[in-house]
Symmetry: D3
Subunit: 137 residues, 6 copies
Amino acid sequence: MDDLQAPDATPMIEYSEASPEVRAVYDDIMRTRQTDWINNFWKALAHDPATLKRTWESIKQIMAPGALDVLTKELVYLAVSVSNQCPYCIASHSAAAKKAGMTPEMFGELMAVVGMSNETNRLASGYRVEIDDRLKA
Amino acid sequence: MDDLQAPDATPMIEYSEASPEVRAVYDDIMRTRQTDWINNFWKALAHDPATLKRTWESIKQIMAPGALDVLTKELVYLAVSVSNQCPYCIASHSAAAKKAGMTPEMFGELMAVVGMSNETNRLASGYRVEIDDRLKA
Amino acid sequence: MDDLQAPDATPMIEYSEASPEVRAVYDDIMRTRQTDWINNFWKALAHDPATLKRTWESIKQIMAPGALDVLTKELVYLAVSVSNQCPYCIASHSAAAKKAGMTPEMFGELMAVVGMSNETNRLASGYRVEIDDRLKA
Amino acid sequence: MDDLQAPDATPMIEYSEASPEVRAVYDDIMRTRQTDWINNFWKALAHDPATLKRTWESIKQIMAPGALDVLTKELVYLAVSVSNQCPYCIASHSAAAKKAGMTPEMFGELMAVVGMSNETNRLASGYRVEIDDRLKA
Amino acid sequence: MDDLQAPDATPMIEYSEASPEVRAVYDDIMRTRQTDWINNFWKALAHDPATLKRTWESIKQIMAPGALDVLTKELVYLAVSVSNQCPYCIASHSAAAKKAGMTPEMFGELMAVVGMSNETNRLASGYRVEIDDRLKA
Amino acid sequence: MDDLQAPDATPMIEYSEASPEVRAVYDDIMRTRQTDWINNFWKALAHDPATLKRTWESIKQIMAPGALDVLTKELVYLAVSVSNQCPYCIASHSAAAKKAGMTPEMFGELMAVVGMSNETNRLASGYRVEIDDRLKA
């Protein structure tokens, strides 16, 4: 007897089977990104239409060009995803950053900064460095 | 009887009491950054001159302008430090990013990206989203 | 010469000095929570009205009772904040969970689960445990 | 010459080959969970019988119904595992939570809370929000 | 009206006011560590006697000399606490490691390893390095 | 039209196709480690020769025997990698630790300490334990 039933791995909800509410988000993603496909992240979130809609609208607002340009935002998104070691996010945001103009040289320098900041974050904690008065004022 | 002796909180090694080896690093920091003071991070690392020298030389190399400019690198450094929740690093790299040209509007947008990427990293993991073939190829 | 200028610590934007856009959010927070004060988190976010509004509206939607009741949601919020070791969030969500009905006994059991899950997460990784076929199907 | 010998991937210790000490733990797991199988986590830990026994007895105590019911505890366990991005733990605790009564709607709301708390944890840190006096008292 | 009531900051439970169950743990801590005081971690956990007892007995078992000596175990404990950036744990385990024989030179080398491993962990993730066949076999 | 082009998975740069600069690092790695192969981490980093060289030279310096012996350093490196849940790093540093003398018993005890420290780090944060005066002095 199998008492510990596995939840289904999250199946993707394809456009053809999506509700009108979900399709409206898919359409907006494709229109905004000027693309003709939807990556799996959204097809998984579609199981919870409220989260799909809220997450997409938040990202659409946050990632639009503003005081920071799109490439810079994608570099930061990738940096955080690498620092958090999220395989899906690294794959998808590497692609997005490359599309936004990230060159191999930029990627190399980005990784160097991500690596070094993770190192010095721990050195600062381990040495219990007090915040300088000049940095507080 | 105090059997659990507390390690001293890391005292800062000031320029006046530093060894020639440590002073050489302090001098290079001030020269490179065109400043006349050393922040506490380096004065704490000075207890281990090998780490002080290696860390400074690595940062000097990594943070120099290259394919990414200095402001972009400082924004990424700050983003990682915020994501890791390191108070000292947030204080020092907020100051460094501001010095490199970060405006309040840029800071606001940076925080929005850091927050959102931390959110979607967990959504991708929790929904166990499979990496799209298009993202693998 | 002080070349590394410290960014101001984020000053709080009080109701009396807030823009109409920010006040509208503050009003909705107080109305929704049936309270007469605004905690510092919102007063700091108010420096970026777009983030203030988006974050509040997301939280308002997410934390409303649904398939999970408010107490359960607050317990989860606190569990994540403790796991991430965020002092502000632990303070504010301990208060929110208590308001939603968390007793000292519940808090003790919650911490036990948070501690144990953090332990076994590392044991699973360190032993490189393969996912059981039954858990994949 | 292969000087960097790979450690064996942790092989599972099956019931039939287990020592009496390990079998006693396996028996208690199956009896407590009213199931007839042991998932890989325990079969890997069995290489260190002291850790197997201690971990099982701790989990048995912690996850028993108390001030919090079993479902709530499983939801928290899953939330922490998702926040930590541990694939094995997400798979096993998704199954356990579902067995304890988690519906797809509950899962969706749980993920929303986990995502949002990870976001606001970083906003609180990045904005360096001071803890309110009301939250300290 | 203060509707968001702050939970009390966890008050310490002193020996003189502790229950017999809690006192028995305090006594065992002092006897095992050959000391005459109890640090705040235990006095806070004492609010949940089951967690106090389980945690202490687990630590007592885990930190006893075995295949690894006490100093090595304390160095690892400190390394993890620094990597996780937990201020209380860094303070208490720095003291414990020093008591177990950690010299300033050892501390410096330990921090160097903690920093570097945090750096290369991210480089490995960001570059999406495939595990070598030799490391799998 | 495929507008979201996937970045190539990082291809390995083999010795035969490497530049003289990269070969010099590969040669030094093999000489220092007294081995005849290079693991994938270095072959991926070779896309950024400056990072390859800097990272190798840092690791060579940090992991050399000093106040801490090589085995202790490898145990700490593995502990941090497990705590951070980095699959590549766990595989490679398990192998390195084993080569340096880690027995199965040592591995079991190491994992126990890593698990327990991750647990108590969260208990200390969740209970908001104040640092003892004795630990500050």
